[in-house]
């Protein structure tokens, strides 16, 4: 299957292509650490990686994209691109959450140590973490992705030993020390990988609705009490 995978959800931008028959699979990958500017770099990077792999759009069969959570604009950038490719070509679109993709990558590289849960914790800023915890493999989450404080994340383990991966590791480890929980950091990558997503993409089910997973609502409050009183 000819696959294009993209991730712009966090502090890196990565694009990967897998194409050609299984016996002669062609691979091309690109990744840049990028704190901002994903929207300017993504489409040119797709062009470069597609060219490197020798894949043309009429032959593209599947686009894989991370759905979030992450930075709001970053998550939207890859999803808008995926939706546009589906609109303009005959490809379908598959997706994984950033947390499930990172968990899959960690399990594939032998993390966590036996007997420990795997917690993916991303720094959501303003004291929050995007958190999801897995037992055994990336298809066995203990619950949906949620936003928690570090203390709440540790408490959610209910005393079970865990390994933690992601940009939120320092916050979780600090909270675990304070709360006396058995949580250890792991050395798995702290950003999602488009290359890993491209490898998984043929086995994922196509999405009808490609919906961002923001987890955190918009920072806006209804304007109540801004109007002057009316007489009866």
């Amino acid at each position: 299957m000819n696959v294009l995978a993209m991730d712009t959800s966090l502090g890196a931008l990565s694009v990967s292509v897998r194409c050609g028959p299984p016996s002669a699979l062609r691979r091309a990958d690109a990744c840049e650490v990028l704190s901002s500017g994903h929207a300017e770099r993504l489409v040119p990077m797709v062009a470069d990686v597609m060219a490197e792999a020798g894949l043309e759009f009429p032959h593209l069969q599947r686009v894989a994209v991370t759905l979030g959570p992450g930075t709001f604009t970053g998550v939207r950038t890859a999803i808008a691109t995926a939706r546009a490719f589906r609109l303009a070509t005959a490809c379908d679109v598959v997706g994984m959450t950033t947390l499930a993709l990172m968990a899959s990558g960690a399990f594939a590289s032998g993390v966590p140590p036996a007997g420990r849960l795997l917690m993916i914790a991303l720094d959501a800023r303003r004291g929050g973490l995007y958190v999801q915890t897995f037992a055994g493999d990336a298809e066995a989450p203990l619950g949906p992705p949620v936003e928690l404080t570090a203390d709440e994340a540790v408490a959610s383990l209910a005393g079970r030993p865990a390994a933690v991966v992601g940009s939120g590791v320092p916050h979780v480890i600090d909270a675990a020390r304070r709360l006396g929980a058995d949580v250890v950091p792991c050395s798995a990558p702290d950003t999602p990988s488009a290359a890993h997503l491209a490898d998984l993409a043929p086995g994922l089910a196509p999405l009808r609705d490609i919906v961002p997973l923001y987890v955190r609502p918009p920072d806006a409050k209804p304007q109540i009490g801004k109007s002057l009183a009316r007489s009866a």
Binding site: F57, R83, A90
Partner: protein, 376 residues
Amino acid sequence: MQPPADTAPPRGPGRTLTVLGIETSCDETAAAVVTRDHDGRGQIRSNVVRSQWDAHEAFGGVVPEIAARAHVACLDEIIRTAMRDAGVTWGDLDGIAATAGPGLVGGLIVGLTTAKAICLARNLPLVAINHLEAHALTVGLTDGLQPPYLLLLVSGGHTQLIDVRNVGHYVRLGTTIDDALGEAFDKTAKLLDLGFPGGPAVEAAAIDGDPRRFTLPRPMAGRAEPNFSFAGLKTAVRTAATEIVPLSQKDVADLAAAFQEAAAAAVIDRVQKAMAIVAGERAAPDRGHCLVVAGGVAANRHLRGALEGLTGRRGWRLALPPIALCTDNAAMVAWTGAEKLVRGETSPLTFAARARWPLDATAAPALGAGRLGAKA
């Protein structure tokens, strides 16, 4: 599957251009297909606009993050509808034009990124469009009107007077140093509990009002440079209203009427200054002088009437595009894209969305407009 776009005929001047436009700079998600024939005449093949008013109403104004979320949720479907309504396929297009600024950057990124991806996949040229330029050139599409003309742009995000000398040549004569006029309408509507968007709400409330009951200021009246300011007017409405709370229906109607009257009078005063500047610089015009009005506030009937009176007295032509093309839309974006394409102007796929993008990059920040100057 449709044939790849690179099998399409060569593009360039002297032939009909068909362009898809995308607009996501504020709270309208829009796509349109426009054709520009070899004589420079435009035709709107489709024009699809989905407003987000419902999503923002509870907040009393546009919330940028809510707007961006709404754009990404529906833009592809809006484009599909615009293409279907126009009866065109990707192979029929000569380019894609997308608003790249000024505006809310989250929404701009959705529209511009979508355009880039389609351009890459279908081998089409991208044209990144300045939203203000699209408003400025709309009369070329609707009225066949070519520059030079004076443009009054009055919307929720912008209030400017621009001397449109040619396509790509703009001189900003005046801008707001604080609130845009549409923003002042929204805030006044919020104060008076009239709902959102404020323009239509204030206008409807003002119908039964007496504009003479309250004396409100005409901001900037008499100043030599044709800049605008509406923050003081908004505060004056609040002051007048606070003195008589609780407000009866009659109070609200009178306040709305007084605000609308003062806002229109302020605009007329500023436009007169700009007309004098333009008339002085083009003492012997070939085709007479023309005032073009664009932006959502151009829908206000009181303002339209005042502008008709002013231009009539001065012997100027007044060009008011249809309301649907005064408010944010993608037909104006597609048209501007066609005007750029016919001149050989395209944009790279690295083009960045711009929250601020002055149409006249040489214009000095208006006095009092803050450290960064006006947004546009």
